[in-house]
Amino acid sequence: MVSTEAAISWVLKAGAILSALLICLGFFIGLNIVWLGVLLLILTPFMRVVIAGFCFLSQRDMLFFIIALYVILILVIGSLLKF
């Protein structure tokens, strides 16, 4: 069983490296790859909240599961807003 902290650390590291690679590649290939890299960069912190939520749920820590759900809800609302 991997600890919550280790899982989050892994997600953040993978997101950081992958997004940097895509953004770097995009410089040579095209802006649509840069777009993908920037999107991945922004979604990485989202992913670590989702992972934390799952971990809290599996530990039956309902209070912190709800806290994670609220953060995810706000992030989803934010990503749907248009101006």
């Binding site: 989050i8 940097a20 934390a52 706000i74």
Partner: protein, 277 residues
């Protein structure tokens, strides 16, 4: 845009990411005045780019601090409920206000940050212990002192209020999630300095992401300029975190503090129409 400009941004990003992570302020405090005063980039666009840099360095530093359990995950999650809410609200406040509002607020935040930086943080730490479900206790191993440090965060309500404010400021001016929250966490919530800095580094990414996703979906992020900004700050933050230069150096803090207050004053003068270029 010419390649020279991209290299210029990349080099400055390395500098901003490096010093930002060493001082625990994040690269944004240096990127924002650079974008607005030197490159003359429109304010909202500069904010979106700076926030991308904040996310990039937080992903990197956060992965290290959470692995080493110096970041307090539960404390971070509780405060994040308010920082992300503030982060979303901040974007809409920024859009509703005239552009000069962003510059004035940024100027004030920079001057505040420079004061915090020059003053340093040498006040005595009093650690509190609490029990209970929402005690938000933490424990980390301090390798300088060679012992485990145990603590509990207190006055969580004040912390939540400050988090909302910090999130909004960060969404409006692209800086400051950490600058505003750090002193509150340390002085009011009684979280020890090392845990404070690590938890903040971990939190600012999600706070900035809440604002950035809105700017990104509405086409405010300039992808071309995002390349050197993100890569530069990541290189700088990586080197800065690795070097672990504990910037007790009063001279460095002082010099960078002066640079920050000087840019803050320039921003205020320009927003007031006293300086034009």
């Amino acid at each position: 845009m010419e390649p020279l400009m991209l290299i210029f941004i990349l080099v400055f990003g390395v500098f901003a990411g490096g010093f930002g992570s060493m001082l625990g302020l994040g690269g944004g405090v240096f990127m924002m005045p650079f974008f607005i005063l030197v490159l003359n980039i429109p304010a909202h666009q500069a904010v979106a780019l700076s926030l991308l840099g904040v996310i990039a360095s937080s992903n990197l530093a956060g992965s290290i601090y959470i692995r080493d359990r110096i970041s307090n995950l539960k404390l971070a999650m509780v405060l994040e409920t308010c920082t992300v809410t503030g982060g979303v609200l901040g974007v809409f406040i920024a859009l509703a206000m005239p552009v000069n509002f962003v510059k004035i607020l940024l100027g004030l935040v920079l001057i505040y940050a420079s004061f915090m930086m020059i003053k340093g943080s040498r006040s005595e730490e009093i650690l509190v212990q609490r029990e209970g479900r929402l005690a938000l206790s933490g424990e980390y191993y301090d390798d300088v002192e060679g012992r485990a440090v145990k603590y509990s965060a207190i006055r969580v309500k004040v912390g939540l209020f400050a988090s909302m404010f910090a999130g909004a400021i960060s969404g409006i001016v692209g800086v400051g999630g950490g600058v505003i929250l750090m002193p509150i966490m340390k002085l009011v919530m009684k979280v020890p300095m090392k845990a404070c800095a690590a938890t903040n580094n971990f939190m600012v990414g999600v706070t900035a992401a809440a604002s950035t996703i809105i700017y990104f979906n509405n086409g405010v992020v300039d992808l071309y300029m995002a390349i050197p900004t993100v890569l530069g700050i990541m290189i700088g933050a990586y080197v800065g975190t690795r070097l672990m230069v504990r910037t007790e150096s009063a001279l460095l803090r002082g010099l960078l503090g002066i640079v920050l207050s000087f840019s803050g004053i320039l921003l205020l003068l320009r927003a007031g129409g006293i300086l034009v270029w």
